[in-house]
Symmetry: C2
Subunit: 205 residues, 2 copies
């Protein structure tokens, strides 16, 4: 597993492989060949084998991959073989849906703090969380050593929130705000903008 520098595009596919393996395990499957996995994901089997080869040898010739084993390896590679704390900023409809979305917890991502700047909301409960004021973000994030954050605030405050998060030590941000964030290169950002996703498909209508 001497993974010098693996292209980001490959890292991006590993979670999709992992998700498929989880599903196969739930179905009771034990072994899978790259070809069958590829068919399920709509990609080529060579790509799967090549992607995995960046990290080691996980299969067996003539047989395929032991699903449980490959899953554990992928979880280690992606560093999701552990529990991770996540901060959520924004307690609106979207924040509410995120906070209650069981898939995060089920995958080891635990929302441990919810922030909002609306005085009406601060101190109130959103599900099992008490909403904290934005001004406490730096200290709470620093003291809890939180490295992951989700931004679910409107576009016009997203950059400001990102700046505060990064200063407090956050190293990866999942942003639902419809703007491109300006961040230092050591910080990773992923965007979810449903409008952009829809607009990527209307071209083909």
């Amino acid at each position: 597993m001497i993974s010098a520098d693996v292209p980001d595009i490959i890292i991006g596919r590993l979670p999709v492989y992992l998700r498929a393996l989880n599903l196969l395990l739930e179905e009771g499957r034990e072994i899978i060949a790259s070809q069958e996995l590829a068919d399920k994901l709509g990609i080529s089997s060579a790509q799967i084998r090549k992607d995995l080869s960046h990290f080691g040898e996980f299969g067996k010739q003539g047989t395929g991959y032991e699903i449980k084993y490959l899953r554990e390896q992928l979880r280690k590679i992606l560093k999701v073989d552990r529990e991770l704390d996540v901060a959520l900023v924004g307690a609106g409809d979207l924040g509410h849906a995120i906070a209650h979305h069981g898939n995060f917890d089920r995958n080891g991502f635990h929302i441990v703090a919810v922030f909002d700047h609306n005085p009406q909301k601060i101190g109130a409960n959103m599900g099992r969380f008490q909403i904290l004021g934005s001004e406490s973000m730096p200290t709470v994030i620093q003291e809890m050593g939180i490295q992951l954050a989700i931004i679910a605030v409107p576009a016009d405050s997203a950059q400001q929130v990102a700046d505060i998060l990064i200063k407090a030590g956050v190293r990866a941000i999942l942003s639902y705000a419809p703007i491109t964030l300006n961040v230092p290169s050591k910080v990773r950002v992923q965007y979810i903008d449903p409008v952009v996703h829809l607009q990527r498909m209307t071209y083909y209508l």
Copy 2:
């Protein structure tokens, strides 16, 4: 605008350009050079110019791009210069957040029908929508001529929902369900899985 066959990866960037142009217009800007836009988006100016060149000539040497004009052209190219009807399947927390997310309407995507299969929910109101039963999906979608759908149901019913939608005439699906859908090649799918997005970043922690 003789756009024979433009690579999908280029189509995928156009909505991001469009979003940035909208923001610039809101700020009162009238002209922008590819270099400044590139800096804002963290990409190269050559890429922006090359991407646009697939569709025509939209800029002026020595000056840059007239933002309003370029925006209109991009809207036409992406076919978002019109109002589009969208069906939403799934009236849980996520569906609720989607239905109330003003950004869809603001960008011409109008949710016109919300479906759920939970008898407890059918007939109830979710905001301004009355929730329809799943069994009415085929007829409602066909009769309204809906081409776009958003899937916000659990993984285990997503494929079944997709099959019904496609049979009813839907041509593009935005899926929040954490599975890879199996669809005919004429149907476009985009996925939003926040867990996958987070897992794409933990590798770098």
